[in-house]
């Protein structure tokens, strides 16, 4: 490319910027989705832990009743 940029640089830059903006917007959307997935998955993990604790309790009560 020449030392002094041609006059049309603004338009060319704008066109490529539009393209990059589209891709970057996609990155933003995906980032938001990923954080939502992380939050949901940790919630579900907690739910599963509570369930397991509950099952443990119930089986211990069962034993206590039987003996």
């Amino acid at each position: 490319m020449t030392d002094t940029l041609p006059d049309n640089t603004g338009y060319v830059a704008a066109a490529y910027l539009v393209f990059f903006a589209l891709v970057l917007i996609y990155v933003v959307i995906m980032a938001a989705k990923l954080s939502r997935f992380e939050r949901e998955l940790s919630e579900l993990n907690d739910l599963a832990d509570r369930r397991l604790a509950q099952d443990d309790e119930e089986s211990r009560e069962h034993e206590a009743v039987r003996t």
Binding site: M1, P6, D7, N8, T9, Y11, V12, A14, A15, Y16, V18, F19, L22, V23, Y26, M30, K33, F37, E40, L41, L44, L47, A48, R51
Partner: protein, 250 residues
């Protein structure tokens, strides 16, 4: 190993390929390809505008093919593939129209010209596919929604070539073509840069498509896991939606 079909496989390799190819393509466009004799520097827009257009159109045709498979097999996964493809192509299509408009302004001083048949055809196709989402949203029953959306995708996909033919014929022969396309005798260096950009854009499309498919699949899996752990009360009802949802039984 899971028994289900995963969409995020090879995603890392794909995205790497995309990054490398697209960067190489643009680098070639700016540093290797010669300056265009007629248009000068602004011809460089060609390297981003035309690959986007070609990939978007192929995306629409791919969506049509997925839609045909959906109608044939009733498998909801084909509907999701078609849906994601159309969404991505619409986003790229918006980019095509904007970059095309910028190019028109740079070339002719107007933000829109009717003389470029490919751009005009693209506008018509874009307007058509823009009705896909409202169409889906206006049908509540999910199975019917998917079926009608697929019919639309098939008809619209078949319409694309017919439309391009008609619009091209509508241009009078005497009017010079505004933009040089890949058809019209490009010098080899330009051709190489263009091909690499096209490959990069295609890789980008496939990457984003897989990305989106994996994301939707993950949402569905999370939902199903929540239902299994917490019972039906733990799951919030989805309400009306235009997006296809994957069931849990595949």
């Amino acid at each position: 190993m899971t028994s289900q079909l995963l969409y995020g496989t090879r995603l890392r390799a794909l995205s790497l390929l995309t990054a490398v190819t697209l960067t190489a393509g643009f680098a070639l466009a700016f540093f290797y390809a010669p300056m265009d004799a007629d248009q000068g520097f602004m011809q460089k827009i060609f390297y981003v505008h035309v690959p986007m257009a070609i990939v978007a159109l192929c995306g629409f045709v791919f969506a049509g093919i997925m839609a045909i498979q959906h109608l044939r097999t009733r498998d909801a996964r084909y509907d999701l593939r078609s849906y994601v493809a159309i969404h991505l192509s619409l986003i790229l299509g918006a980019g095509v129209l904007i970059t095309g408009s910028i190019w028109a302004k740079a070339s002719w001083g107007h933000w829109w010209v009717w003389d470029e048949p490919t751009l005009v055809s693209f506008l018509v196709v874009f307007l058509l596919y823009a009705t896909y989402q409202p169409l889906r949203f206006s049908i509540e029953d999910p199975e019917r929604q998917a079926r009608y959306a697929s019919v639309f995708a098939v008809v619209a996909g078949a319409f694309v070539p017919l439309n391009f033919l008609a619009v091209r014929m509508a241009q009078s022969y005497t009017h010079p073509r505004v933009f040089a396309t890949a058809d019209g005798g490009l010098p080899d260096k330009m051709k190489l840069a263009f091909v690499v950009c096209l490959l990069g854009m295609s890789a980008l499309y496939v990457t984003l498509w897989k990305y989106e498919m994996a994301s939707k699949h993950t949402s569905a899996q999370l939902r199903s896991l929540r239902r299994k752990l917490g019972g039906d009360e733990a799951v919030t009802p989805t309400g009306r939606s235009a997006a296809p949802s994957l069931g849990t039984s595949q």
